[in-house]
Symmetry: C2
Protein backbone atom coordinates (compact mmCIF):
# COMPACT_ATOMS: atom_id res chain seq x y z
CA UNK A 1 0.00 0.00 0.00
CA UNK A 2 1.56 3.25 -1.11
CA UNK A 3 1.35 6.10 1.34
CA UNK A 4 -1.63 8.34 0.84
CA UNK A 5 0.61 11.36 1.24
CA UNK A 6 3.86 11.89 3.10
CA UNK A 7 2.83 13.11 6.52
CA UNK A 8 5.18 16.07 6.00
CA UNK A 9 2.75 17.33 3.36
CA UNK A 10 -0.16 17.13 5.76
CA UNK A 11 -1.24 19.90 8.11
CA UNK A 12 0.34 20.05 11.53
CA UNK A 13 -0.76 17.22 13.82
CA UNK A 14 -2.09 15.10 10.95
CA UNK A 15 -0.66 11.73 9.97
CA UNK A 16 -1.63 8.82 7.80
CA UNK A 17 -1.76 5.50 9.66
CA UNK A 18 -1.47 2.24 7.73
CA UNK A 19 -3.58 -0.34 9.52
CA UNK A 20 -2.89 -4.05 9.70
CA UNK A 21 -5.57 -6.21 8.10
CA UNK A 22 -6.04 -9.62 9.69
CA UNK A 23 -7.49 -11.38 6.68
CA UNK A 24 -8.19 -14.99 5.91
CA UNK A 25 -10.79 -17.04 4.09
CA UNK A 26 -13.44 -15.76 6.50
CA UNK A 27 -12.94 -12.11 5.52
CA UNK A 28 -10.99 -9.19 6.97
CA UNK A 29 -10.65 -7.58 10.39
CA UNK A 30 -8.92 -4.36 11.40
CA UNK A 31 -8.32 -3.80 15.12
CA UNK A 32 -7.72 -0.36 16.61
CA UNK A 33 -6.34 -0.60 20.12
CA UNK A 34 -6.61 2.65 22.05
CA UNK A 35 -3.17 4.05 22.86
CA UNK A 36 -1.52 1.63 20.40
CA UNK A 37 -2.93 1.67 16.86
CA UNK A 38 -4.77 4.82 17.82
CA UNK A 39 -2.50 7.55 19.23
CA UNK A 40 -4.83 8.25 22.17
CA UNK A 41 -7.31 6.54 24.48
CA UNK A 42 -10.71 6.25 22.78
CA UNK A 43 -13.35 8.35 24.56
CA UNK A 44 -15.88 8.31 21.72
CA UNK A 45 -16.60 6.56 18.43
CA UNK A 46 -19.00 7.80 15.81
CA UNK A 47 -19.90 6.91 12.28
CA UNK A 48 -21.34 8.83 9.38
CA UNK A 49 -23.49 7.13 6.74
CA UNK A 50 -26.41 7.78 4.43
CA UNK A 51 -24.67 10.80 2.94
CA UNK A 52 -26.33 12.21 -0.16
CA UNK A 53 -24.65 12.98 -3.45
CA UNK A 54 -23.37 16.55 -3.61
CA UNK A 55 -23.45 17.00 0.16
CA UNK A 56 -20.41 18.06 2.18
CA UNK A 57 -19.87 17.81 5.94
CA UNK A 58 -17.42 18.95 8.58
CA UNK A 59 -16.51 22.61 8.10
CA UNK A 60 -15.05 22.99 11.54
CA UNK A 61 -11.90 22.62 13.61
CA UNK A 62 -11.56 21.38 17.18
CA UNK A 63 -9.75 23.47 19.75
CA UNK A 64 -8.42 20.43 21.62
CA UNK A 65 -9.94 17.18 20.36
CA UNK A 66 -7.77 14.84 18.28
CA UNK A 67 -9.49 12.30 16.04
CA UNK A 68 -8.69 9.37 13.81
CA UNK A 69 -10.92 8.74 10.78
CA UNK A 70 -11.17 5.72 8.50
CA UNK A 71 -13.59 5.12 5.68
CA UNK A 72 -14.62 1.51 6.27
CA UNK A 73 -16.83 1.33 3.19
CA UNK A 74 -16.94 3.46 0.05
CA UNK A 75 -14.97 6.68 -0.29
CA UNK A 76 -14.86 10.40 0.30
CA UNK A 77 -12.38 13.25 0.02
CA UNK A 78 -11.24 15.30 2.99
CA UNK A 79 -9.82 18.81 3.00
CA UNK A 80 -7.40 19.52 5.85
CA UNK A 81 -6.10 23.00 6.58
CA UNK A 82 -3.92 24.36 9.34
CA UNK A 83 -3.48 27.93 8.13
CA UNK A 84 -0.24 27.13 6.31
CA UNK A 85 -1.09 23.93 4.43
CA UNK A 86 -4.33 23.16 2.66
CA UNK A 87 -4.35 19.53 1.57
CA UNK A 88 -6.88 17.19 -0.02
CA UNK A 89 -6.76 13.49 0.86
CA UNK A 90 -8.82 10.68 -0.61
CA UNK A 91 -10.11 8.16 1.92
CA UNK A 92 -11.12 4.98 0.16
CA UNK A 93 -9.50 2.10 2.02
CA UNK A 94 -10.55 0.36 5.25
CA UNK A 95 -6.87 -0.16 6.08
CA UNK A 96 -5.78 3.46 6.03
CA UNK A 97 -6.69 6.03 8.65
CA UNK A 98 -5.92 9.69 9.04
CA UNK A 99 -5.23 11.39 12.35
CA UNK A 100 -6.75 14.85 12.44
CA UNK A 101 -4.90 17.07 14.89
CA UNK A 102 -6.41 19.79 17.02
CA UNK A 103 -6.84 23.16 15.31
CA UNK A 104 -7.12 21.62 11.85
CA UNK A 105 -10.03 22.80 9.73
CA UNK A 106 -11.58 19.84 7.96
CA UNK A 107 -14.26 19.29 5.38
CA UNK A 108 -15.54 16.05 3.83
CA UNK A 109 -16.67 16.07 0.22
CA UNK A 110 -17.57 13.68 -2.58
CA UNK A 111 -19.05 10.92 -0.46
CA UNK A 112 -19.86 7.76 -2.38
CA UNK A 113 -23.42 6.55 -1.91
CA UNK A 114 -22.21 3.66 0.26
CA UNK A 115 -19.68 5.64 2.30
CA UNK A 116 -19.37 4.78 5.98
CA UNK A 117 -16.79 6.82 7.88
CA UNK A 118 -15.73 5.71 11.35
CA UNK A 119 -14.16 8.32 13.61
CA UNK A 120 -12.51 7.77 16.99
CA UNK A 121 -12.02 10.77 19.28
CA UNK A 122 -9.87 11.37 22.34
CA UNK A 123 -12.60 13.23 24.20
CA UNK A 124 -16.35 13.31 24.66
CA UNK A 125 -18.54 15.61 22.64
CA UNK A 126 -18.36 19.24 23.76
CA UNK A 127 -19.82 21.94 21.54
CA UNK A 128 -17.44 24.53 23.03
CA UNK A 129 -14.56 22.57 21.47
CA UNK A 130 -15.83 23.34 17.96
CA UNK A 131 -14.79 26.28 15.83
CA UNK A 132 -17.43 26.43 13.12
CA UNK A 133 -16.58 29.77 11.54
CA UNK A 134 -13.66 29.75 9.14
CA UNK A 135 -12.76 33.41 9.69
CA UNK A 136 -12.59 32.78 13.45
CA UNK A 137 -10.40 29.73 12.80
CA UNK A 138 -7.98 31.78 10.66
CA UNK A 139 -7.87 34.54 13.25
CA UNK A 140 -7.09 32.07 16.05
CA UNK A 141 -4.40 30.33 13.95
CA UNK A 142 -2.79 33.65 13.02
CA UNK A 143 -2.95 34.81 16.62
CA UNK A 144 -1.21 31.61 17.65
CA UNK A 145 1.54 32.21 15.08
CA UNK A 146 2.04 35.89 15.91
CA UNK B 1 -37.99 1.21 15.81
CA UNK B 2 -39.39 -1.97 17.33
CA UNK B 3 -37.10 -3.74 19.75
CA UNK B 4 -35.01 -6.46 18.19
CA UNK B 5 -35.86 -8.76 21.05
CA UNK B 6 -36.81 -8.10 24.66
CA UNK B 7 -33.51 -8.18 26.51
CA UNK B 8 -35.10 -10.73 28.87
CA UNK B 9 -35.01 -13.20 25.98
CA UNK B 10 -31.31 -12.63 25.42
CA UNK B 11 -28.51 -14.49 27.14
CA UNK B 12 -27.27 -13.18 30.45
CA UNK B 13 -25.31 -9.94 30.12
CA UNK B 14 -26.65 -9.20 26.62
CA UNK B 15 -28.85 -6.22 25.81
CA UNK B 16 -30.11 -4.44 22.73
CA UNK B 17 -29.23 -0.75 22.64
CA UNK B 18 -31.26 1.62 20.48
CA UNK B 19 -28.89 4.32 19.23
CA UNK B 20 -29.84 7.92 18.50
CA UNK B 21 -29.35 8.93 14.88
CA UNK B 22 -28.45 12.56 14.34
CA UNK B 23 -29.77 12.90 10.83
CA UNK B 24 -30.35 15.87 8.59
CA UNK B 25 -30.08 16.71 4.90
CA UNK B 26 -26.35 15.99 5.04
CA UNK B 27 -26.81 12.36 6.07
CA UNK B 28 -26.75 10.47 9.37
CA UNK B 29 -24.39 10.23 12.33
CA UNK B 30 -24.44 7.89 15.31
CA UNK B 31 -22.21 8.78 18.27
CA UNK B 32 -21.09 6.22 20.84
CA UNK B 33 -19.69 7.91 23.93
CA UNK B 34 -17.67 5.56 26.10
CA UNK B 35 -19.34 5.08 29.47
CA UNK B 36 -22.57 6.66 28.22
CA UNK B 37 -24.01 5.16 25.02
CA UNK B 38 -21.56 2.31 25.47
CA UNK B 39 -21.79 0.63 28.90
CA UNK B 40 -18.01 0.69 29.39
CA UNK B 41 -14.92 2.71 28.53
CA UNK B 42 -13.71 1.86 25.02
CA UNK B 43 -10.31 0.16 25.06
CA UNK B 44 -10.48 -1.19 21.51
CA UNK B 45 -12.51 -0.84 18.32
CA UNK B 46 -12.44 -3.29 15.44
CA UNK B 47 -14.37 -3.86 12.27
CA UNK B 48 -15.07 -6.87 10.15
CA UNK B 49 -15.61 -6.56 6.39
CA UNK B 50 -15.05 -8.43 3.14
CA UNK B 51 -16.86 -11.46 4.48
CA UNK B 52 -17.63 -14.11 1.88
CA UNK B 53 -20.98 -15.75 1.24
CA UNK B 54 -21.44 -18.89 3.29
CA UNK B 55 -18.72 -17.99 5.77
CA UNK B 56 -19.32 -17.80 9.52
CA UNK B 57 -17.14 -16.15 12.17
CA UNK B 58 -16.88 -15.90 15.92
CA UNK B 59 -17.30 -19.30 17.54
CA UNK B 60 -15.92 -18.22 20.88
CA UNK B 61 -16.77 -16.66 24.21
CA UNK B 62 -14.72 -14.20 26.26
CA UNK B 63 -13.91 -14.96 29.86
CA UNK B 64 -14.01 -11.28 30.89
CA UNK B 65 -14.30 -8.95 27.88
CA UNK B 66 -17.63 -7.21 27.24
CA UNK B 67 -18.32 -5.93 23.73
CA UNK B 68 -20.88 -3.88 21.84
CA UNK B 69 -21.47 -4.72 18.17
CA UNK B 70 -23.34 -2.78 15.50
CA UNK B 71 -23.65 -3.60 11.82
CA UNK B 72 -23.06 -0.20 10.22
CA UNK B 73 -23.65 -1.46 6.69
CA UNK B 74 -25.42 -4.58 5.39
CA UNK B 75 -26.56 -7.35 7.67
CA UNK B 76 -25.68 -10.56 9.44
CA UNK B 77 -27.20 -12.92 11.99
CA UNK B 78 -25.66 -13.59 15.37
CA UNK B 79 -26.14 -16.60 17.60
CA UNK B 80 -25.79 -15.89 21.32
CA UNK B 81 -25.67 -18.63 23.91
CA UNK B 82 -25.10 -18.58 27.66
CA UNK B 83 -25.71 -22.23 28.47
CA UNK B 84 -29.39 -21.65 29.26
CA UNK B 85 -30.57 -19.51 26.36
CA UNK B 86 -29.60 -19.91 22.73
CA UNK B 87 -30.88 -16.95 20.74
CA UNK B 88 -30.53 -15.73 17.15
CA UNK B 89 -30.58 -12.00 16.48
CA UNK B 90 -30.54 -10.23 13.13
CA UNK B 91 -28.27 -7.22 12.96
CA UNK B 92 -29.24 -5.05 10.01
CA UNK B 93 -29.52 -1.47 11.28
CA UNK B 94 -26.81 1.10 11.98
CA UNK B 95 -28.93 2.45 14.85
CA UNK B 96 -29.19 -0.75 16.85
CA UNK B 97 -26.36 -2.34 18.79
CA UNK B 98 -26.08 -5.45 20.86
CA UNK B 99 -24.03 -5.74 24.03
CA UNK B 100 -22.36 -9.14 24.27
CA UNK B 101 -21.65 -10.03 27.87
CA UNK B 102 -18.69 -12.01 29.14
CA UNK B 103 -19.10 -15.80 28.98
CA UNK B 104 -21.51 -15.64 26.05
CA UNK B 105 -20.75 -17.93 23.14
CA UNK B 106 -21.31 -16.05 19.89
CA UNK B 107 -21.27 -16.88 16.21
CA UNK B 108 -21.91 -14.63 13.21
CA UNK B 109 -23.60 -16.11 10.15
CA UNK B 110 -25.27 -15.02 6.92
CA UNK B 111 -23.16 -11.94 6.25
CA UNK B 112 -24.39 -9.84 3.36
CA UNK B 113 -21.73 -9.06 0.76
CA UNK B 114 -21.51 -5.46 1.94
CA UNK B 115 -21.61 -6.19 5.69
CA UNK B 116 -19.41 -4.05 7.92
CA UNK B 117 -19.62 -4.86 11.62
CA UNK B 118 -18.14 -2.44 14.14
CA UNK B 119 -17.29 -3.83 17.58
CA UNK B 120 -16.21 -1.87 20.66
CA UNK B 121 -14.53 -3.74 23.50
CA UNK B 122 -13.86 -2.89 27.13
CA UNK B 123 -10.35 -4.35 27.07
CA UNK B 124 -7.37 -4.82 24.82
CA UNK B 125 -6.87 -8.00 22.82
CA UNK B 126 -5.69 -10.91 24.94
CA UNK B 127 -5.78 -14.42 23.51
CA UNK B 128 -6.05 -15.93 27.01
CA UNK B 129 -9.46 -14.23 27.32
CA UNK B 130 -10.87 -16.38 24.51
CA UNK B 131 -12.64 -19.70 24.92
CA UNK B 132 -12.61 -21.20 21.43
CA UNK B 133 -13.80 -24.70 22.22
CA UNK B 134 -17.54 -25.11 22.72
CA UNK B 135 -17.25 -28.14 24.99
CA UNK B 136 -14.87 -26.19 27.25
CA UNK B 137 -17.32 -23.28 27.27
CA UNK B 138 -20.19 -25.56 28.32
CA UNK B 139 -18.07 -27.18 31.01
CA UNK B 140 -17.08 -23.78 32.44
CA UNK B 141 -20.68 -22.53 32.36
CA UNK B 142 -21.96 -25.67 34.05
CA UNK B 143 -19.20 -25.49 36.61
CA UNK B 144 -20.23 -21.91 37.35
CA UNK B 145 -23.84 -22.96 37.84
CA UNK B 146 -23.06 -25.95 40.00
Amino acid sequence: VAPLLPSADLPSGCTVVELTVRGDERGSLVALEGGRDVPFEIARAYYIFGTQAGVARGFHAHRRTVQMAVVVRGSCRMLLEDGERRTWVTLDRPDRAIVIGAMVWHEMHDFSDDCVMLVLADDHYDESDYIRDHATFVRLIEGGNA
